[in-house]
């Protein structure tokens, strides 16, 4: 009896240590293959290449993406619809855009049982906004640099911080549009972006990043980005 108890304790110890260690490690690319084949997607290689790019980024939400894929596997909708939901995410990965907000939105759509075509539409809009806002920031001299690389100028921001700005700005515009707001309400858009950045200033966004953005962005800029998303 005693020996059995000790043995089972030892086994649980080993198993749990391993689980703990593995859980913390970065997820290997191979993990994604299974779900992609089970959904199934038409061209898994394309997805794997895109995910591989993502895995190279320090702020890549690997676990969340894997979870999303697993949720899609068990979703009742036909596989073309499921794949359509993934396409904006893949496109974003291919363009080096952060997918955290897109994955969140997809989770929300699934949790709320939104028809997948509507989820895809929402994601597509957000994807376009991410690209537009990134171009906008670049045009204002706000660049992203790889973390650890020397900062060439004060307006060059390490990529993870840049991505957080990008996601929040694009999301604020997306919320406005989804609420039926007009892309021509530049001042309203600016107000929404401003409020959001200020609420997060010193919380998840460094104050100097927020100040930089608010200094250089203008309402008309946001209208341009919003228009691109609804065209």
């Amino acid at each position: 009896m005693r020996r059995r108890v000790v043995a089972s304790l030892g086994l649980s110890l080993a198993t749990l240590l391993i689980i703990g260690l593995v859980g913390m490690a970065q997820i290997p690319l191979a993990e994604f293959e299974g779900p992609l084949h089970e959904i199934p997607v038409a061209n898994p290689d394309r997805y794997l290449r895109a995910i591989d790019i993502g895995l190279g980024q320090p702020d890549f939400p690997a676990e969340e993406l894997l979870r999303l894929l697993e949720r899609l596997v068990t979703h009742a909708a036909p596989s073309p619809e499921k794949e359509a939901v993934l396409l904006p995410i893949v496109a974003a990965l291919e363009e080096g855009l952060p997918i955290e907000g897109l994955v969140n939105k997809a989770f929300e759509g699934l949790a709320r049982r939104i028809p997948l075509p509507d989820v895809e539409h929402g994601l597509h809009q957000r994807f376009v906004l991410l690209g537009e806002v990134r171009d906008l920031l670049y045009s204002k001299g706000i660049f992203s640099v790889a973390p650890g690389a020397p900062q060439s100028s004060p307006s060059a921001i390490p990529t993870p911080r840049f991505n957080q700005l990008l996601i929040n700005i694009a999301d604020a515009i997306g919320d406005h549009l989804e609420g039926g707001g007009s892309p021509f309400d530049g001042h309203v858009l600016f107000q929404m972006v401003r409020e959001r950045l200020i609420m997060l200033e010193g919380v998840t966004l460094p104050p100097e990043d927020v100040e930089l953005v608010l200094e250089r962005l203008e309402p008309s800029d946001l209208t341009d980005a919003a228009l691109a998303a609804v065209s």
């Binding site: 108890v5 703990g20 913390m24 929300e108 911080r161 919320d175 039926g180 959001r196």
Partner: protein, 206 residues
């Protein structure tokens, strides 16, 4: 009509209505007691567990408890070790709270920084609601249950959240409810409202 007169009339009227219904209420006690019949107040979870773990029940359950507790302790050690390893590999450049989406679901949040705040979610739901859950950015939009221990219709959950912005909503028996009056703001998402809270550094969650 002065307000205190209105109050007086209101009181009188309401009392009169009840008095008029007295025949109806006659024998209510008997009807209720007969409905209750053999029922006794439900045993609470604590009493039930108490009975389960009572010494007279023998060593078996006690053994499970010991194994479970030990396993949990080792899991924590394992996670602590691995968390430590990762820190050495990628030192953070700026002391930021973990980015919103990468905050793991609260139960498994071994990364949780001391800046986590306990955020209360409250839903007054219909009494025959079977399940009330919250879904949001903080739990991958997977369900975290609220509970209504004293069955007064108010369901609550307290979730530790790192500072940041969280979008969320509730599913009451599977139906979406996104207009939490306690939210900091509401946004339109997929055609209906969802709620947003900002959790700040220290202090009150605003």
């Amino acid at each position: 009509m002065p307000h205190d007169e209105l109050e007086r009339i209101l009181r009188d009227t309401l009392q009169r209505e009840v008095a008029e219904s007295a025949p109806r209420l006659e024998g209510l006690e008997e009807r209720i007691l007969s409905d209750l019949g053999e029922r006794r107040p439900r045993l609470g979870l604590v009493e039930w567990l108490g009975q389960l773990l009572a010494p007279t029940r023998g060593g078996r359950v006690g053994q499970f408890a010991i194994v479970g507790a030990t396993a949990a302790a080792f899991l924590l050690i394992g996670l602590f070790i691995s968390g430590d390893l990762l820190d050495r590999v990628s030192p953070p450049q700026f002391e930021l709270a973990p980015a919103v989406a990468s905050g793991a679901a609260p139960m498994a949040d071994e990364d949780s920084v001391s800046g986590d705040q306990q955020v209360l979610f409250v839903v007054p739901a219909p009494l025959n609601a079977k399940t009330v859950v919250v879904v949001g950015d903080f739990n991958h939009w997977e369900e975290t249950a609220l509970t209504d221990d004293d069955h007064d219709g108010i369901w609550t959950a307290t979730i530790p959240l790192a500072p940041g912005r969280y979008e969320y909503g509730f599913l009451i028996d599977g139906r979406w409810w996104g207009e939490d009056p306690r939210a900091d703001e509401h946004v339109q998402s997929f055609g209906e409202y969802s709620s947003v809270r900002y959790v700040g550094r220290g202090g009150d969650g605003a």
